[in-house]
């Protein structure tokens, strides 16, 4: 048990109690929503956990750092950025994946770029975005997000 775990659980518990004080019916409804979304996300969480196990068990650290590590250079960052843009992984499970890569040879830059493109850019949801917001705005948002993801990653690599 680390402090982050305790902090998050205490915070959630505190919010839940104040919600119950404010409105019992609404709080109960929120718990049902929470339970449903927990079971919705559970398969994805398990997939990612199995993949992390396989990744760390089978792919040697030197290989990971060669593809997405410091030595991979800008090409590696670009590959990670594209991967993040194409893949459709819920953001909640992208963090354990990113952490496992970071602990096993990936650079901070590529991990930050991966998380940012993964969350900000959705190739799978692009048709829906175009339909709702129009072609120009959807393409501008995704395109500029791709650029700023790389800038954020490079800055993170320089700062940390």
């Amino acid at each position: 048990m680390n402090t982050t775990v305790i902090f998050i659980n205490v915070f959630a518990f505190g919010c839940l109690i104040s919600a119950f004080i404010k409105s019992r019916a609404k709080a109960r409804q929120a718990l049902i929503v929470a339970l449903k979304s927990f079971f919705h996300i559970l398969p994805t969480v398990l997939i990612i956990i199995i993949l992390i196990g396989l990744l760390l068990g089978f792919v040697p650290q030197s290989q990971i750092s060669k593809i997405v590590g410091e030595r991979a250079g800008f090409g590696g960052v670009l590959i990670v950025a594209l991967l993040g843009a194409l893949l459709h992984i819920p953001s909640l499970v992208s963090f354990p994946l990113a952490a496992s890569l970071l602990k096993n040879g990936a650079s901070i830059t590529s991990v930050a770029v991966f998380i940012t493109t993964l969350t900000m850019i959705g190739m799978v949801t692009l048709p829906l975005e175009i339909k709702e917001l129009g072609m120009k705005m959807a393409l501008l948002r995704n395109g500029i997000s791709f650029l700023i993801a790389i800038i954020i990653g490079i800055l993170m690599g320089a700062i940390l």
Binding site: A19, A27, T44, L92, F95, T116, M120, M137, I148, M156
Partner: protein
């Protein structure tokens, strides 16, 4: 708000697909581990470690998301963002986007409603980006797995660049609209 039905449909479709992928992943894992029995220990150790780290915070994160989705309805967010103006709108967009609710595709219908209500484009872009990238439950999981320094640095940088992106997209779209009008005027 017609997009909400579509959102439900995507979700239901998604769960079925996720379970199929989970099954396939399990089968691949079992085959790989029976061919390479010496890899069992490292694979189990890594998986178990990440599973424990995840399961300790996931229920709390889900409860927070549930609370926000019930107590802060989407209509309220759209109403608040629709009537705010100036640079304040951009930051309000980020703040509202950071409230924990649903995946990114759930935000598109809201953004579309905002667009029709005449909200600023910079505000809508800030809202969408914050929704995508710096949501509260997401930040909590980031804190758990990547640590405080990583989380805060990425958060600050993202907020800065999201503001810049919102303003520049608004500028680009307004410029394009202006040019169109000039072309139209010239042809008349």
């Amino acid at each position: 708000m017609r997009g909400y039905a579509k959102e439900k449909e995507i979700q239901r479709h998604g769960v079925k697909r996720d379970i199929i992928i989970l099954g396939a992943t399990l089968i691949i894992a079992i085959i790989l581990l029976s061919i390479f029995p010496d890899k069992r220990t490292p694979v189990f150790t890594a998986s178990r470690k990440f599973f424990i780290e995840m399961i300790l915070i996931l229920p709390a994160v889900m409860i927070l998301m549930g609370l926000f989705s019930v107590f802060v309805p989407k209509e309220m967010i759209v109403k608040h963002l629709g009537k705010t103006a100036g640079i304040k709108a951009v930051f309000l967009g980020i703040l509202m986007g950071a409230l924990p609710t649903g995946p990114l595709y759930a935000a598109f219908p809201m953004a579309s409603a905002l667009l029709k209500k005449g909200a600023k484009i910079s505000c809508i872009i800030a809202f969408l980006s914050a929704w995508a990238c710096i949501k509260l439950p997401q930040e909590m999981i980031e804190l758990q797995f990547l640590g405080f320094k990583f989380m805060v640095t990425r958060l600050v940088l993202t907020i800065i660049f999201v503001v810049v992106m919102g303003i520049s997209i608004e500028w680009l779209i307004k410029k394009a609209i202006k040019q169109n009008q000039e072309v139209n005027n010239a042809s008349i």
